[in-house]
Amino acid sequence: MSLIPFRTKRSSGMEGGNLTTLADFRHEMNRLFEGFFSRPTAFVPGWLEPTEPGQWMPAIDLSESGTQIRVRAELPGIDPKDVDVSVSGDRLMISGEKKSCTEESGEGWSHCESHSGAFSRAIPLPESVDPAKVTARYDKGVLMVELTKSPSSTSRKVPVLTK
């Protein structure tokens, strides 16, 4: 993966721009270190590639239990109407846009660390899911997507027949 910051929209001031880059760098290094020491799967190819150049990519948690798959993404400060969630086969796509602090509230913003601009992430799911049985909920800045595995992919105990 790349350590180049995901964001392209920056505050115009030199100082603010440098500081936001440092914030990105710190965040990314924290994530890398945690992933390296505790989660070897963090380096599985294909997981951390942004879907569109220039967009930022939210981090996720993903879990699987029985017929359910749950995906959690932290998207603070985003209007739920600006988040798109779509499913295709065994791939979940989360995308949207967050306004930068300077766009939203005018002048005076000298220090912008939070992610802003368009974001997207394509998340490979461990199994195919039923597109009709997907729910997405946004609460306190956290997006929670619950998916139901499609019947064809749900594991099934196969009886062993005898003659």
């Binding site: 965040h27 996720i60 959690r72």
Partner: protein, 130 residues
């Protein structure tokens, strides 16, 4: 805003309590010097208002948010978020009215309004024609 106002204090104003065994993260913040006040907006997703503490002491604004455990049920396939609380401090100086500081929480954003004391607010001086 003065440079000192934007600096993160070198040390948190309050040391973590012994009960805190999880990691502590610095939330990303946006800061505005809006003249009459300084506005600080911090990314603190998943918190509850009763788990957020904001204090102002000796010119240092501190925020601390405890976030409930974020593990998803089932087998974790991917876990990119750490579990812990948020803590950050800002050295703003003494030109602020501590009694009028307000904070609100919505959509995972903690917004803190820190008003300046009336005596130090920027004032536009009208120039009269002679």
């Amino acid at each position: 805003m003065t440079t000192s106002a934007m600096k993160t204090a070198e040390r948190p104003a309050a040391a973590p309590t012994e009960a805190e065994t999880t990691l502590t993260y610095q939330p990303n913040v946006d800061i505005c010097d809006c003249g009459r006040e300084v506005l600080i907006v911090a990314d603190i997703p998943g918190a509850h208002t009763d788990g957020i503490d904001v204090s102002f002491e000796d010119g240092v604004l501190s925020l601390h948010a405890r976030v409930p455990a974020r593990e998803l049920p089932g087998r974790a396939v991917r876990q990119e978020y750490g579990i812990g609380s948020y803590r950050r401090s800002f050295r703003l100086g003494d030109d602020f009215d501590a009694s009028q500081i307000t904070a609100s929480y919505r959509h995972g954003l903690l917004t803190i309004h820190v008003p300046r004391l009336p005596a130090v607010r920027p004032r536009k001086v009208e120039v009269r024609a002679g």
